[in-house]
């Protein structure tokens, strides 16, 4: 029985205060004089709590999380790798953290240098001509990339007719959602038996209405599309552009460059490949890299260098416009550049090689106890099917929940949609063989438990701060703020211990 977990609004009260502000050392005029006739609010129901209690509240909450510094986090497609601490330190240097985009280029040479160096490095890594660092997430990058494609088609007078984007059925949900944001239509092509896209079906839908194809490389099964260059060539042949979803770039760095595979544009998730911490949901960074023909359309402003001085150039008549109020997630980009600089050219290549090695090792091991729908060498991740456990009444969701009891996070589940009961596993290169073995043992034990004690899995997790949560009730009752009444109180457990 620790102190009941309460929301902060239920703690403290009048007289409780956090850190104080400097005294107001300018003339203290009545607000009514400074804000004449302005309607002010009557009440403000924020908590009043002391610093010690605020600290305890949030530290207690923090301990309820799984996180990469706690253990394996094999979320497929998310590249949950170690986040070096130095990167956070650098991003919080006062000269960077306090720099203001409207202070002018003269005042911001350091910040502009970060953007410039990162853009150069990303262009080199991806094999493209130019990079914008304005988009702040993968999906934001997708939208930006599609806008660039639209602008290019328009510049060629084809803006009206090209309104379809071809997306494989294994694609991430943001792809069709981004297409929709353009007012365009998504055309889904199915995957063939080898998990590559079905070329003939693709050919059938490619035409002069096609604005772009949008492929994830390697795809969300962790497999490299063998025919990728034929595919991009086919698309180009009908005048379409080729967009690469770069969420899986961690498999490719130093091995092959998307620009060399026929793509015209891609986004990069720096919160995946370049290790910027995910922050419980964000912030990330979604820079977009483009071939030369798309460069004129990049969001303004762009960074240019002349005689060692950097400046933001706004005068970009063909630009699609701004996609962010300022310069993108700068603090995140500092981290990405620091990461790239730490690894260096060889380290970057080793990163991808080790990501591939780790994934293949784990795949080879787990293929003995789980179904492997596509038995090929994988790149940085692979997808298993939990279908074989259904006979015991066990589903992939149960496997996922049970894994939590082993101190590891669950893989991505039920995605990609084309694999039944999918378990999408991405160990990343920063895990040791020890960790992979432990994960494999857990997965193997779960297979045994499915046969022997399936209820153990249905009831999992058993060691997490809470058991399975009623998501249906959440959606029905819509308790979305603390103003809504709390659900019927749970049992208050007496302290554990056998009397």
């Amino acid at each position: 029985m620790t102190l009941n977990r309460k929301l902060l609004i239920q703690r403290g009260g009048e007289g409780h205060r956090g850190p104080s502000l400097p005294p107001c050392d300018v003339p203290v005029k009545p607000l009514a004089e400074l804000l004449p006739g302005v309607p002010l609010r009557a009440s403000l129901a924020l908590p009043q709590v002391t610093e010690p209690e605020v600290v305890r509240h949030f530290i207690a909450l923090s301990t309820l999380n799984h996180h990469i510094d706690k253990g394996l986090y094999p979320l497929g497609s998310c590249t949950m790798k170690h986040n070096p601490k130095i990167n956070d330190e650098l991003a919080s240097l006062p000269g960077l953290a306090l720099s203001h985009p409207f202070a002018g280029d003269e005042a911001n040479q350091g910040s502009l240098r970060v953007l410039r160096e990162l853009q150069k490095a990303l262009a080199e890594i991806t094999g493209f001509a130019a990079v914008t660092t304005q988009p702040v997430a993968g999906a934001h990058g997708e939208m930006t990339g599609l806008m660039l494609i639209r602008a290019w088609h328009r510049s060629r007078g084809e803006g009206e007719k090209r309104t379809r984007v071809i997306v494989p059925d294994s694609a991430h949900g943001t792809n069709p959602a981004s297409v929709h944001l353009m007012g365009w239509e998504t055309v889904t092509v199915p995957s063939g038996p080898d998990a590559g896209v079905d070329i003939e079906k693709l050919r059938a839908v490619l035409d002069e209405r096609t604005a772009a194809i949008m492929f994830t490389v390697p795809n969300t099964l962790g497999l490299f599309e063998r025919n990728i260059r034929e595919i991009t060539a086919m698309a180009h042949a009908v005048g379409a552009q080729c967009y690469m979803d770069g969420a899986n770039l961690n498999a490719l760095v130093g091995i092959v460059r998307p620009g060399d595979l026929g793509f015209d544009v891609m986004h990069i998730n720096v919160h995946k490949t370049f290790s910027t911490p995910h922050g419980g949901g964000g912030p990330g960074g979604g820079p977009v890299a483009v071939a030369a023909h798309l460069e004129p359309f990049l969001p303004a402003p762009v960074v240019e260098e002349q005689d060692g001085r950097l400046r933001l150039v706004h005068d970009r008549p063909q630009s699609v416009g701004r996609v962010h109020a300022f310069n993108g997630n700068f603090g995140i980009l500092v981290r990405a550049l620091a990461y790239i600089s730490t690894l260096g050219p060889e380290g970057l290549a080793t990163m991808s090689r080790n990501a591939i090695l780790n994934a293949n090792w784990l795949k080879a091991r787990l293929a003995k106890s789980y179904e492997l729908p596509y038995p090929r060498h994988c790149m940085h991740e692979f997808v298993l099917s939990g279908r074989g456990l259904k006979k015991h009444g066990v589903r992939t969701l149960d496997v996922a929940k049970r894994l939590l009891d082993f101190g590891v996070h669950a893989p991505t589940v039920y995605f990609p949609l084309i694999v039944e009961e999918a378990l999408m596993i991405e160990p990343t290169e920063t895990e040791t063989l020890d960790r992979l073995e432990h994960f494999a043992e857990a997965m193997e034990q779960i297979v045994r438990e499915a046969a022997e004690t399936p209820d153990l899995l249905h009831g999992a997790p058993h060691t997490a701060p809470v058991t399975r949560l009623d998501e249906g009730r959440a959606a029905r009752e819509l308790q979305l703020t603390w103003r809504t009444p709390a659900p019927a109180p749970g049992r208050t457990a007496a302290p554990a211990g056998k009397a």
Binding site: L46, L96, L98, Q109, G328, L357, L469
Partner: protein
Amino acid sequence: MLRDIGVAAFEDLVDAVPADARLKRPLRTPGPLSEVELRRQVGRWSESNAAARAVSFMGAGLYDHYIPSAVNAIAGRSEFATAYTPYQPEVAQGTLTVIFEFQSMIAELTGCDVANASMYDGSTAVAEAALLARSQTGRARIVVAGALHPNYLDVLRTYLDGKGLTVVTDKGGQCAPEDLQAALGPDVAAVVYQHPNFYGLLESPRTLHRLAHGAGALAIAVCDPVSLALLDPPGAAADGDPGADVVVGEAQALGNPPSFGGPLLGFFACKLGLVRRMPGRIVGRTVDTQGREGYVLTLQTREQHIRREKATSNICTNQGLLATRATIYLSLMGREGMREVAEQCVRRTHRCLELAEAIPGYRRAHDGAFFREFALECPVDAAVVCAAGRAAGVLPGVDLGQFRPAWKRWLLVTATEQRSAEDIDRWAQVLRTAGGAR
């Protein structure tokens, strides 16, 4: 490991990658650099920014507020910083509870029923609000009423592909109701207004709401959350006005540094009736199988990973850690602290104006009540004042000439609670120097 995998060489694993497309040379990227070298290099870059030393009177959507040390100490914990999106709620109650508290506090500040877990920034929150209005009303035109941040307007234009956007220019800084009235019509999906607006001036939200609603359009308010600690919250009903339908804005000011404009913290709050069209993640309270309270991502059927092209938005990764910081910040400051922050910003900024008006050649660009920011018309180009400031270790404000040539004598000035009376005196001295009137 290769043996376990059953291949002879690493190359066998990547045989699907066309051999002739492969990179056959090392990458030409910087490094490898040790931490010692990185600190030296990035440290040098940091020092070469004026912000390393100067005191700032710059705002225009990014503010240099006091950030309690505890915010950094808590939010920097691996548990918050290195967790992914809370897809397995049983091991993510920390993140989920924080988001629930964030939603609650944003709802309270804005006067709305609900808020989401964050947007990319204030500008994209505005754009998503406009898209929501379109799909809610089935109408196409978005009317921007008065002085919206020019960069927000740019982003809105980008998102709307430049179509269906009407800007009702401000009159003397504020939106004139009659001008807005004239721009309205049955094709209008929403009226978007900023309050306090780009110039720091206060609008008349209730009037704008009535006009918007009168035309069957939604009212979308764009607000500075610091101002909401004092101002009548536009999302709340009052005097027969049901309030803005959507309130969005930038919450960087709540515990986050300006950081050259990112990462930021867009927020999005609205009426309960719009919640199923709201973009982004939402956390709801529920119970576990043992009846204990807990939190989950809810209404996910709005989202791209479930609904794909039918999703309300394509947003996936958001600005979570900044929402965590804002939640800690608001908790530390509390009701009284937030009020005091807002009051001090008002008082210190008004003090700036008082001093400036005493210097020959300087005067306000607009009349009307302002909150914590005002445009100052200078006797010289604002760029001259900024240059004088840089030399004196002061960033005296935002040179509005960078937005429009016509504004080149305008300096947008703000003073947060961090600027002491002494700082403000130094600021005034910069004005004197630049204006030639010592």
